[in-house]
Symmetry: C2
Amino acid sequence: MKQLPRISQAEWQVMKVFWTKPLSTANDVIDALSDDAEWKPATIKSLINRLVKKGALGFKQEGKVYLYYPLVTEEECLQAESKSFLQRLYGGALKPLLVNFLKHEDLTKEDIEELKQILNERKS
Amino acid sequence: MKQLPRISQAEWQVMKVFWTKPLSTANDVIDALSDDAEWKPATIKSLINRLVKKGALGFKQEGKVYLYYPLVTEEECLQAESKSFLQRLYGGALKPLLVNFLKHEDLTKEDIEELKQILNERKS
DNA sequence: ATCTTAAGATTACAAGTGTAATCGGATTAT
DNA sequence: ATAATCCGATTACACTTGTAATCTTAAGAT
């Protein structure tokens, strides 16, 4: 399996935009993230550059601008991050993690039903 | 609420020792972590020092050595980390996180029953 | 009284991160 | 043609992190 580049927190924000809408330009990302208005445009461009260097993003030139696209899927990154999180904080024990999240976070009645459904389906 | 120092991954390993056994000496930690033999003793001392500076550990002198102890609970740190993880990777949506973990990680039949129990208890 | 030892304190240093400004070349407007 | 603009590339810089060696000082050994 291809080995994933490691994506930092700030970079993750940027990746999310590309995962949601691949073949975006740098400006698309800047727009997409402008609501939160957390970063200067230059910052976002820096992050995009790093992601390209890390091999997390590819691009093709379209006229004068680049259209960037993810080279790694959100699924696999999420998987990897989640796994390392589980390992690091809960020593790899899934149940305590789940218990913790179940206890402290918000769930609707429907969510709960759905989760029980999932639990039922995975017998073992 | 007291604001938590931010504890890095390597530091977390060290904190775990103190959470498990408060009032440990630096050498206790070195011993405790020597199985994994990942770090030189000097490294562990560095980490302890940083944790003291960050306000994550306190200590009292006992004869010639220091007995260190956590100034923050594992519970609150876990809580904070988990929350930020949830926010960062899943945009704060608990269900996708749970679904992901439920789908990909290992659970025994008993675990599953227990989780369903928890779900039942928290009607909403 | 000295010498050794061991503990905490200080210093080191490269890599990664957050955050951003500036440079250089191409494109568009005048 | 020339000037203004825009975009990606390069450079910047402080802070954190991983990893560890060295320094200082006090206690214990001889």
